[in-house]
């Protein structure tokens, strides 16, 4: 939808209001408010260890959302629906390669990440060389991945996580924080550096806001877009390995629950699905926000039905805060 011609007629709002309307700020305020609400509903909700547990869950979601975020910023209706399948596949493969042995962790990570990268590569090639819309390509790939999961589950037993991996995910590693949170912080720094300080990062925004102009300016549009999907596959695979560490063993379709929520985290973080804008810091806040919301809903004693209705309605209300399209004025 072209909105270039729409002219904004509102007067420049004051700086304070502008600041308060920034997605990251909104998300942070909401996080604090939700923590307070949780504490009020069930004392101990906002205790340090409880918050750490929430952050561990959020980091898996956040790592999946990192790849999703890159693909979305890259524009051309960029979206990756196959991440859920890659998370599951990575978890099951890594579980089988390490099968409880510490020495198997490194090979397992390598296998999982390579497979994730490979599927990302397939996605990227289909999207760039054959010019299949990302939604269609990754949707089709999701079907293939789900089929592959059925085959694999029939062939091999579900593997186990090595104790060291579980410790890395669930036990404090440094300054009281589990390793996975450090990993997430590292990914956050990596993403910030990638997006704001590298040529590759600038080019992602360039192809996201105007692919044609970027192409004219000599940006290797196709190579970059393939790279984005490969990165998305890699991040999803990493999240799959972490999830294996979190649950101890890989079970069926664990990744499915990350497919659309990873997109929601990106949107709540202030990256519009139209691409060319946004960043990862907001997405991290978005992931935390989603996880806290889900956690509050499991804390209060309501039925599954009520929980889902409140969750859906809250997501809609949150989206009203930001991520709305521009009105059409003649």
């Amino acid at each position: 939808m072209s909105t270039e011609t729409a002219v904004s007629v509102t007067a420049a709002p004051s700086k304070a209001i502008e600041f308060l309307k920034r997605p990251l700020v909104v998300a942070l305020i909401l996080i604090v408010a939700l923590l307070a609400l949780g504490e009020a509903l069930s004392p101990g909700f906002a205790s340090a260890e409880q918050i750490l547990r929430l952050l561990v869950v959020a980091s898996v979601m956040g790592i999946v959302a990192a790849g999703q975020n890159l693909v979305i910023i890259g524009g051309r209706e960029g979206i990756d629906l196959s991440v859920g399948g890659i998370v599951s596949l990575a978890a099951i493969l890594a579980g089988n390669v390490m099968n409880g042995a510490e020495s198997g962790i490194l090979p397992a990570v390598l296998v999982a990440v390579s497979v994730g990268a490979l599927f990302g590569l397939f996605n990227g090639l289909g999207i760039t060389l054959l010019r299949i819309p990302p939604l269609v390509m990754t949707l089709g790939m999701l079907g293939v991945l789900q089929g592959l999961l059925v085959v694999i589950r029939n062939g091999i037993p579900s593997g186990r996580a090595a104790p060291a991996l579980s410790q890395f995910v669930t036990q404090p590693l440094l300054f009281g924080l589990p390793g996975i949170i450090w990993l997430w912080i590292a990914i956050g720094l990596f993403m910030a550096f990638l997006l704001k300080r590298t040529v590759f990062g600038y080019r992602i925004y360039a192809i996201g806001s105007n692919e044609q102009a970027a192409f004219m300016a000599g940006v290797p549009v196709k190579t970059i877009r393939v790279g984005l999907f490969v990165l998305s596959g890699v991040f999803a695979a990493l999240a799959g390995v972490c999830l294996l560490g979190y649950s101890g063993s890989s079970f069926s379709n664990v990744g499915e629950q990350y497919m659309l929520p990873s997109i929601i985290a990106v949107v709540l973080g202030g990256t519009p699905l139209a691409g060319g804008k946004g960043g990862y810091t907001g997405t991290m806040a978005g992931a935390v926000l989603l996880v806290i919301l889900q956690s509050i809903l499991t804390t209060v004693h309501i039925d599954e039905s009520g929980r889902q209705m409140v969750f859906g309605a809250t997501l809609l209300v949150l989206m009203l805060f930001y991520g709305r399209g521009r009105a059409m004025r003649g």
């Binding site: 054959l130 089709g140 089929g147 889902q308 989206m319």
Partner: protein, 329 residues
């Protein structure tokens, strides 16, 4: 295929003009090939009984593909169609049980079910066109809400449909199975809709919303109408799936959402909006159904069936897009 791919250079080739007018022709070719393959591997699959079975199983997906098409026309998408199917399914099951399951109550329950679907469509339309939320994430959020409602209406799967309902759906009248009456009725409704101004308006909005707005079209209202139609056909899909499964299940439609999107794309409609046909989506849904039965007839080991299906659907999606782009470019 080769002929089609090699023609884009010639602007006036007759093949291309046919493809432009009937964008579902590639899908139709795939469909015919699949029917032939099915007949080759399992001659009985071409019998009247088998075809009736195919329709009664996949009529729900066909209707859901139609539902999805009307939002895709105007450049939107609806990821909540599956949850609308679930919601309508449990609503009519619970009502029919409560009201006794007689002939009239079945009809009354179906009407309430259709109203439920319409209400879901209105809600989606207001969220996306009215409040300008992004369609993919907003309909995902509404799908969570609708699923919650469905779980509230019927927490666990299992309540059976009254005999009057599924006996009618599976029955035969004047020598013709009931599903074909439904197919005929739907075909007439779709034919009328295709000739209505609304279809052209939805396509115009999908092609270029700004241009449509500047020509004076009520863009927001047209997009809302698309979602309402989507809700209506999702409800009809739910009535069919209830006839097929004869029971209530608050999660029955969940898996169908993505298939409905795939069917629309297989049918040659552009997900970006502005180009497409409902006929194509119907063919797309049948293609998915026939791929599933073909994979079975070829004798694929059961654990490999999903993978082969996935690969076949991905291949068909890619081929369909390449061919229809050749026609449009």
């Amino acid at each position: 295929m080769q002929q089609i791919i090699s023609t884009p250079a010639m602007n006036t080739s007759p093949l291309k003009s046919v493809l432009q007018r009937f964008p579902f022709v590639p899908a139709l070719i795939i469909l015919i090939a699949l029917v032939a393959l099915n007949g080759f591997f399992q001659p009985r699959s071409l019998s009247f009984g088998s075809i009736t079975g195919l329709f009664s199983t996949y009529l729900a997906l066909m209707l859901l593909a139609v539902a999805q098409t009307y939002v895709v026309f105007s450049g939107d998408i609806d990821l909540s169609v599956g949850s609308i199917v679930s919601l309508v399914n449990v609503v009519i099951i619970v009502l029919m049980e409560k009201w006794g399951g007689g002939g009239l109550t079945v009809i009354a329950a179906c009407l309430v079910g259709i109203l439920t679907g319409l209400a879901c469509g209105v809600a989606n339309g207001i969220m996306i066109a009215g409040l300008r939320l992004q369609a993919i994430v907003a309909t995902f959020a509404t799908s969570i809400f609708f699923t919650g409602l469905a779980l509230y209406v019927l927490p666990v799967a299992g309540t059976p449909a009254p005999e009057a309902y599924w006996m009618t759906y599976g029955g035969t009248y004047f020598g013709i199975p009931f599903v074909f009456y439904v197919v005929a009725a739907v075909a007439i409704v779709l034919g009328v809709l295709a000739r209505m101004r609304l279809t052209t308006q939805m396509l115009a909005v999908g092609d270029d919303a700004m241009a449509a707005f500047q020509t004076g079209l009520p863009v927001t209202l047209i997009r809302i109408k698309g979602y309402v139609l989507c809700g209506l056909f999702s409800a009809l899909a739910a009535l069919c799936i209830t006839g097929d499964t004869a029971s209530g299940d608050p999660l029955v439609g969940g898996k169908m959402t993505l298939y409905s999107v795939a069917a629309v794309v297989l049918g040659g409609s552009a997900l970006s909006g502005g180009a497409g046909t409902v006929t194509g989506s119907l063919i797309g849904a049948l293609i998915i159904g026939l791929i599933n039965s073909l994979v079975f007839f070829v004798g694929t080991p059961s654990e490999w069936q999903n993978l082969v299906q996935g690969l076949a659907i991905l291949t068909a999606l890619m081929a369909g897009i390449l061919v229809s782009r050749g026609a449009r470019a």
